[in-house]
Amino acid sequence: MYSRLRVIKNYLALSIIVVTSLVCLIPLASILYIALREGGNTLLELGLRFLIELPPTPLSPSGGIAPALIGSIISSTLALFIAVPPSFMLAYFVTEFPRHPFSKVCELVVRSFMGVPSIVVSMFVYYTLVIPMGTQSIIAGSLSLSFVSLPYAYVYFTSAFRSIPSNIREAAMALGMSRVRALRYVYVGLLRRSLTTGLLVTYLRAFGDTAPLLFTMGFLTSTVFAGLLKPGNALPLLIFVYALSPYETFHRVAWGATLVLLLIYLALFIVTRSLVRGVKL
């Protein structure tokens, strides 16, 4: 039916496409392997102590990542609490009043916000919060993180709200529900899985981001937790700083921290995915 040339061309092109895209995914395998190899040693050697000890000095043989782990959990949770309510409201506003000029402005501005480089956000927070406060702090880090993750939460929530089938929306309106009631009694129940996924995705983003924390978070190594208004530390930040340092001990800790970060990330990702699979509309 097809000329031979076309058949050959078809198979050739398809195999090139598949091979190229498999090449894109090889790095992940390499990253997992290297992180297990390099970080696994550190983790096996120290076990749980790696998670609860203070980071090493350049010359000490080993150390842990306690301040970074605690700091990461606190700052990304705070960032989630700061970023989610406004992005949720904005997303609902934009899907419910799509023709209002404010919606159009909002849509454009929040989406452009994704284009703001996170290091610029970090510099901005440094000047507006860190300098007036006189010290880098976990609060400043969380605020910086929340600015960066707000547009992502917004985009996720808007697509969740837009996925509501129009017959359900019309049914809610036909029953005389106000938009707030419809949200409360119909949409939230309907979208609970995808809204939870949105939360988790935002949390994941905040947990892994480095650049927003560079000038805002500080780099706490002397104690595990000094207070919200005092400097903290974070896993990605610790990895970044230690990777740039010349000391062998620091590199080992960086790889151990990478493995921990990777495991947390993968665990959260799998939870997120298993939620998404259950969505039925």
């Binding site: 598949v18 895209s21 452009s112």
Partner: protein
């Protein structure tokens, strides 16, 4: 607007301040950056973009700075990375949506999603300690040896940390992100085009070419968004680009990009009068280019969406 219910009015008016707040935040970021950059712009003017000096000094009159290497390096690295990742992400999209059987495709899609959300610092560490030495020995050295007569490859890759290495690691990190954008667009194309192509007797490859033809404006948009993201990327670049202030056009030389310059110099810049404003000028440039690129990308996507749904 007319609201039938009180609570809707409340919803509307309580969200308005948030809209104003978000717009205000963006304006505040731009204006604070501009205000802090101003002393340097006023003092050095256009020479900031042309000079490659970086001479901090205790005497403000003797200070002299230029952003030329960092600006050039940024554009260089981001463009190269986008150039590499665009075709890769298109291949990835076609593989997971059309070419492979559905189950395998979905699985690969998850793998790509894992890669897309992976913290960038992990790419940076992996790139700097695994990929860069590997690239230096297996790719950059031969490139220099056999194609050294081309100015782009004329310099000896000593450490391997270079613009080329940074762009490759960046491309690896941004391919899944661009693929995720493209998948969203690809799935918006009505299936009548696919059915039409098949019914006219097209092979799968020919059908894909037709679909890609429809997707073309979206691809441009995705490239713009990917470009804006790679341009603002700090961690990967700072760990792999080599951080050197020498102005060079050779791809195998270490360079600086604006974000990596800021990350490296910010803490010490506070000691000198004009160093910090110069870094803020860099941030302003970065902000400007990134915002324009992502604005254009978003606009293109909207325009395309409107056309495809006809």
């Amino acid at each position: 607007m007319i609201f039938p219910s009180k609570s809707d009015r409340l919803l509307f008016y309580s969200t308005l301040p948030l809209v104003v707040g978000v717009v205000g935040l963006l304006l505040a970021i731009v204006s604070v950056t501009l205000a802090l950059a101003w002393p340097s712009i006023e003092r050095f003017g256009i020479s900031l973009l042309l000079s490659s000096a970086w001479k901090p000094s205790d005497d403000p009159l003797a200070e002299s700075y230029g952003l030329a290497p960092a600006v050039a390096g940024s554009l260089y690295v981001a463009m190269l990375a986008t150039l590499i990742s665009t075709p890769l992400s298109i291949a990835l999209v076609l593989t997971v949506t059309e070419v492979l059987p559905r189950r395998l495709g979905t699985f690969l899609r998850y793998v790509a999603e894992v890669m897309g959300g992976l913290p960038t610092v992990i790419y940076g560490l992996w790139g700097s300690s695994v990929l860069v030495p590997l690239l230096r020995d297996t790719f950059m050295r031969p490139l220099h040896e056999y194609l050294g007569f081309i100015p782009l490859f004329s310099c000896e890759p000593v450490t391997g940390y270079s613009a080329l290495a940074a762009s490759i690691v960046l491309a690896i990190a941004s391919t899944p992100y661009m693929a995720a954008l493209l998948i969203e667009g690809y799935q918006m194309i009505p299936s009548k085009y696919r059915e039409g192509a098949y019914s006219l007797g097209a092979t799968k490859y020919e059908m894909l070419r037709i679909m890609l033809g429809i997707l073309k404006p979206y691809m441009v948009a995705a490239s713009l968004l990917g470009f804006s993201r790679t341009l603002g990327e700090t961690t990967i670049v700072a760990l792999t680009v080599g951080n050197s202030l020498k102005f060079t056009t050779c791809l195998l030389d270490p360079m600086y990009t604006i974000p990596s310059l800021i990350a490296n110099q910010f803490e010490s810049a506070g000691l000198y009068r004009y160093a910090l404003p110069t870094l803020f000028t860099g941030a302003l440039l970065l902000l400007f280019i990134c915002l324009v690129a992502s604005y254009l990308g978003i606009k293109l996507i909207y325009a395309w969406r409107g056309r495809v749904y006809v």
